[in-house]
């Protein structure tokens, strides 16, 4: 396929490359190319109202992945996501313990599907900042050969030399720099007292040694600058945002009164488009609850616009360039 054909297919929607990937490839984006964001929900995810049905988690993810890649069956989609021989890191979010951390069942289902797609278990690594946080969120630590590994960066450390972009100067987790070829981001959908919201891009605060330095001015430009670091930008392949339980107010810490069971996942390659959609979902829920918009609350997520600007070009926040698919 030559470049012309490639662009034609893009325009026809046959190849679902996101705007951010087009930028990475140095390809000028035709106006018709949109960043695809799939929102998959299952109102029956919790048959008894509280506990998630594992079987339905698999179906939910399969439906989302199949739709995202526009293929005939889910396995085809998972096989488009990863390739045998690749080492895949899954970045979860466990800082708020079991109350509001990436759901273990969702991660287990993703691991199973990655193996079906040809990834060896030992080539999958689930990680976050600290072993203790992972355990408190219900994950079982493992570094055994032949099994899916699960560990905190505190067990392997950060690079000695920092990477820098704009306001960011941070040491990156060695799990990301040395132990993987592909990063799949599995954040949560949450309100955030500083940034406004946290979903795809903010979750990268958990791969560097000094996130506390990046919260000024509503994390803007901290979040956008951080996502420009080469290890993140070049390895991030997909974001599967766990929105089975989400937070519309009182985040990012677990605040039971500010959470709701959204029973969904949000899938995108373009992290900016995903965060834009996530923001709209949270605003809708806040309006339903009679709460102020995030702008009125003084914490509109400005970082989303900055991530899309000419300096960062991490994706798009222009709704006319986002193809939102709800399944």
């Amino acid at each position: 396929m030559d470049r012309r054909d490639f662009l034609k297919q893009c325009a026809a929607g046959a190849v679902a490359l996101s705007a951010s990937e087009m930028n990475l490839l140095g390809v000028q984006q035709p106006a018709a190319v949109k960043s695809k964001v799939v929102v998959a929900c299952d109102p029956k995810l919790r048959p008894n109202g509280t506990t998630i049905d594992s079987g339905r988690v698999y179906s939910l993810l399969d439906r989302g992945v199949q739709s995202f890649y526009g293929v005939d069956n889910p396995l085809q989609g998972w096989k488009m996501m990863v390739h045998p021989g690749e080492r895949v890191a899954l970045k979860v979010n466990t800082i708020s313990w079991r109350g509001l951390s990436t759901n273990v069942q969702v991660v287990e289902a993703i691991c199973e599907r990655l193996q079906r797609a040809g990834i060896k278990p030992q080539d999958i690594i689930i990680f976050d900042r600290e072993n203790r946080e992972l355990e408190r969120a219900g994950f079982h630590l493992s570094s055994d050969a032949g099994r899916v590994r699960c560990m905190g960066t505190d067990s392997v450390g950060y690079e000695e030399q920092p990477d820098a972009f704009g306001t960011v100067r941070s040491k990156v987790s060695r799990i990301l720099t040395r132990n993987c070829d592909v990063l799949i981001n599995i954040p949560l959908l949450k309100d955030h007292s500083e940034a406004g919201i946290t979903a795809a891009m903010k979750n990268m605060y958990g791969v560097v040694d000094n996130p506390y330095r990046l919260h000024d001015r509503g994390c803007a430009p901290g979040i956008a600058d951080l996502n420009m670091l080469p290890a993140i930008r070049t390895k991030l392949r997909l974001t599967i945002c766990d929105a089975t339980t989400a937070c519309f107010d009182g985040g990012p810490s677990f605040s039971p009164e500010g959470t709701w069971k959204y029973n969904g996942v949000i899938i995108a390659r373009d992290p900016v488009a995903l965060d834009y959609v996530a923001w709209r979902i949270i605003e809708r829920k806040r309006a339903e609850q009679g709460l102020n918009t995030l702008r009125a609350a003084g914490r509109e997520p400005r970082f989303i616009g900055l991530a899309a600007d000419a300096r960062h070009q991490l994706g798009t926040n222009d709704p006319s360039r986002i193809s939102l698919v709800e399944v």
């Binding site: 500083e194 946290t198 009164e257």
Partner: protein, 168 residues
């Protein structure tokens, strides 16, 4: 008064002082430890050690939420895990602020929907599965990880025991 008698009186005085000092220390220790031990409050078991984070490493515990506490003058937070009746996990956090105003500032920014005021410390709110109260320069939050009919009275009991232990 003979020399021996004076020594006897001095010894009695010394023993008395040592006992009084010991009791004082015990009271101080009891006051400074905000977390009831297992069984001290009916049904509650302390399931982990108390961990403390100061202002410089608060982000390790609550990430981006640290900012609003820092702005309100947090000195440290101590946290401890609990379990109720062997099935409901909970976490209790005690934030020590530089002043009562700081504790009040955080308290006022907490969500107020679906909360009911309760009498505890200087001010308190009870939610479906959590409790927040302030007392002097302390702000305490207890969060249960499951919702059930017995959770509210249970966290109220734990909260009252903690409030009693906090200095004004």
């Amino acid at each position: 008064m003979s020399h021996g008698y004076r020594r006897f009186l001095a010894s009695i005085l010394l023993v008395g002082l040592v006992l009084a000092a010991g009791a004082g220390c015990q009271r101080a220790a009891r006051k400074s430890g905000s977390f009831p031990a297992s069984g001290e409050v009916s049904g509650w078991t302390k399931t982990g050690d108390t961990r403390t984070f100061d202002a410089t490493n608060l982000w390790r515990y609550i990430d981006g939420d640290a900012e609003r506490y820092l702005k309100a003058g947090v000195q440290s937070v101590s946290t401890c895990d609990y379990k109720y009746e062997g099935k409901t996990d909970a976490v209790a956090d005690v934030y020590t602020m530089t002043s009562a105003e700081g504790a009040g500032k955080i308290f006022e920014t907490e969500p107020q929907r679906n909360a009911k005021p309760v009498t505890m410390g200087d001010d308190a709110r009870l939610y479906g599965q959590s409790l927040v109260f302030r007392k002097g320069r302390y702000l305490t939050r207890i969060v249960a990880y499951n919702e059930s009919p017995e959770v509210q009275p249970a966290i109220l009991a734990l909260g009252r025991a903690m409030a009693e232990r906090l200095e004004k």
